[in-house]
Symmetry: C2
Subunit: 416 residues, 2 copies
């Protein structure tokens, strides 16, 4: 899974060549102009967009209007006149193309954790078979998914079976109700085989539930084409929706009529303003809603999605792979052999849009990198994460990040 990075050269000529290569790659990059859409300072290389996406420049003006006019002047009328009420489905349909989902299957709202709960309990109920008494869960997943899966298992009387994502096909069988897998490992950046795992889960008669937090907006997901049953994801990483922007829930159209949410709030009622004491679920994606949506966070997300207009996901993926390849090449060129270990798979088919490097001095290294304007993040105890967001990170950024990383590694290892 990991490989010791080997230093391929140490000449300054190589550095000059990499700087020149970076300039040429940026000049030829069809996405390079998108960077201007973001509030970014050229003094900083922001490689933490896989944790919190950068601010699109036009969002502050839009939010000023939402707050001062829609809330401040129209007030309650905005639920209808400003389209607040329908925002969860409307924004879901804006995200759907990035997920490879036809319209009407994605709804925005609540946190990823809450949506994992809806999706997993919903999946167990869709399986509708008491002999399917197991929920298989990716044991390497972002922890919240595991915690919530444990709760979903407890509350539906199922047993949780944690396995490595690669072992999911072997673990699913006649006792499996559902399997929850994270598309990209948040720690290593490893991309899991969504088509293959989904097919194996469905062949076993179970439902495949995917967490797309670390993949959507960075690479093609193709939910519909791959027959995924349910999926969830956040919007504040590659989708740049803002801190804690609402998450989304995908329920494949074929399941919507039988989707039975454990959180049947009034927003998911067939006729919410009838205020009837009996619950009757709405049709379609709206059935995934719960309570009153957090409009300010939600409309910031909607506005932020404008940066995706006209961007083919395939182009994003091509640049993401080229960027991470180039960054790894620069790291190999600049950092002495053996100092860093890459946790990120070399094979493109197994790589998300981040590079994870480990070294014992990772906490000190990341602190110094950030001081020098190269912003990645640390995953305790020893992982340096660098996220590559193709809409606003370029090749010169990658070269600079690797160069500063080499300087910092040298200082830290020499005790300076």
């Amino acid at each position: 899974m990991s490989e010791l990075l080997e230093n391929t050269t140490d000449s300054t000529g190589a550095a000059e060549a990499l700087v020149a290569r970076a300039a040429a790659l940026d000049a030829a990059d069809p996405l390079a102009k998108r960077r201007e859409l973001f509030a970014l300072d050229d003094g900083v290389v922001y490689l933490d967009g896989n944790s919190l996406g950068a601010l699109p420049r036009h969002v502050p003006a839009r939010m000023a209007h939402v707050i001062a006019h829609e809330w401040g002047e129209l007030r309650i009328r905005s639920w209808g006149e400003s389209g607040w009420w329908t925002a969860p489905e409307r924004i879901g349909d804006r995200i759907a193309p990035l997920l490879g989902a036809a319209p009407g299957q994605v709804v925005v709202g609540d946190s990823t954790s809450v949506n994992v709960f809806k999706a997993l309990v919903g999946a167990v109920r869709l399986a509708d078979d008491d002999s399917r008494d197991e929920i298989v869960v990716d044991a390497t997943t972002f922890p919240t998914d595991g915690y919530i899966a444990e709760s979903a298992a407890r509350m539906t009387g199922r047993r949780l079976v944690p396995v490595a994502p690669g072992d999911v096909p072997a673990a699913v069988g006649p006792r499996t109700a559902a399997a929850l897998v994270n598309h990209v490992d948040y720690r290593t950046g490893r991309l899991h085989d969504l088509p293959g795992i989904t097919a194996a889960v469905r062949d076993a008669g179970a439902l495949a539930v995917w967490d797309l937090c670390h993949s959507a907006g960075a690479l093609p997901v193709d939910l519909d084409a791959n027959g995924v049953d349910l999926a969830v994801g956040c919007t504040y990483k590659y989708l740049n929706g803002g801190p804690g922007a609402p998450a989304y829930l995908y329920v494949a159209e074929r399941h919507q009529g039988r989707f039975d949410s454990p959180l049947p709030g009034w927003n998911s009622h067939a006729d919410p303003f009838a205020m009837s004491p009996g619950y009757a679920a709405a049709d379609g994606a709206r059935r995934g809603r719960v309570g009153t949506p957090d409009i300010l966070s939600m409309l910031a997300l909607e506005s932020a999605l404008d940066v995706w207009d006209g961007v083919p996901v395939g182009e994003v993926r091509a640049k993401s792979l080229a960027l991470t390849d180039f960054f790894l090449e620069c790291v190999r060129a600049y950092v002495p052999e053996g100092r860093l270990t890459s946790l990120t798979p070399a094979a493109h088919a197994e790589r998300g849009s981040q590079v994870a490097l480990s070294c014992p001095e990772a906490p000190a290294v990341m602190a110094r990198l950030i001081e020098r304007g190269v912003v990645g993040d640390l995953r305790r105890p020893d992982v340096l994460r660098f996220g590559f967001t193709p809409l606003y990170v370029g090749y010169a950024d990658a070269e600079r990040a690797a160069r500063v990383l080499a300087e910092v590694c040298a200082e830290v290892s020499e005790g300076r």
Copy 2:
């Protein structure tokens, strides 16, 4: 429960006297100056603050800073440097005094519906007794509470027992795990007896769970003094937090150590950044958190709470009762006898901070009221709701609203 409103006078002299009384009452109102803190247009009488509170004037500048600086410039660093990570507990402690709660018991996040689920499932688990197989629920509550209570009952193997709030004391017993009651009826404005019902529920050995959506910020709640076990509420009505601002969860300190959330997301972990596969619940109010908080909505709420600085809740309650009394007096003076029926109790001890009037032509009446700048809302089929928010509604507003209501009722009844 209802009383036919009687027209007490029809002379223009009486109208003049009411206008003069309103002016005198406004002049003597210690809260009158608070109105200047809100973005309100004098052409409108906004009586829908019990649905969506008005915008405090200083919030747009604060949010411009949050978006442009905290998100746009500091980006990921703001989780620490701008206090984003601790916002749910910090804002909970800002709200706590309005609820009569000591610090450390209130946490902000998620919607009211999601918090009802946490609170009710948590209450059943705190009861920790399989022979307590019933959840008693206020049958007149805002519907989402009933829908979520049904789901909580289903997922904990309990039976739901819907009763009128006044019948809760008689309905609770050795089979009751928890009772969920709404403090103020969203439709009629009736205030329920929180101290008495709480005592009866606790005497039966069950847990008392309150929904404060329609009371907190309008009247004293005194959660601690009354021994309430758990409570939830929204922040976009009387607390003016903005559309869909996050809700809150109160877990009394004595229960926190055993509070067992059905939504144990990573934000409620004792050491969230350890990212450990096993769940260990945090201490204190933070245990009620779930996923990543919706920072923009949350910080708008935090900013909005500034309007409460130095406001005694008792003063708010006194004005609320005086305002609703005065409005009802004006309605009696202006609207011909028999045309409207008040659903709001005359007794102060039973009245929240809204007036609900019914008439068969309610939809047409409310549409015309709004056209003329008197903004209340309609609850189908026949209820006109008028919310009185003591921080920004005055006596002249109440008089004007009643006068326009009388004009509109006359027009509609004459078919004009």
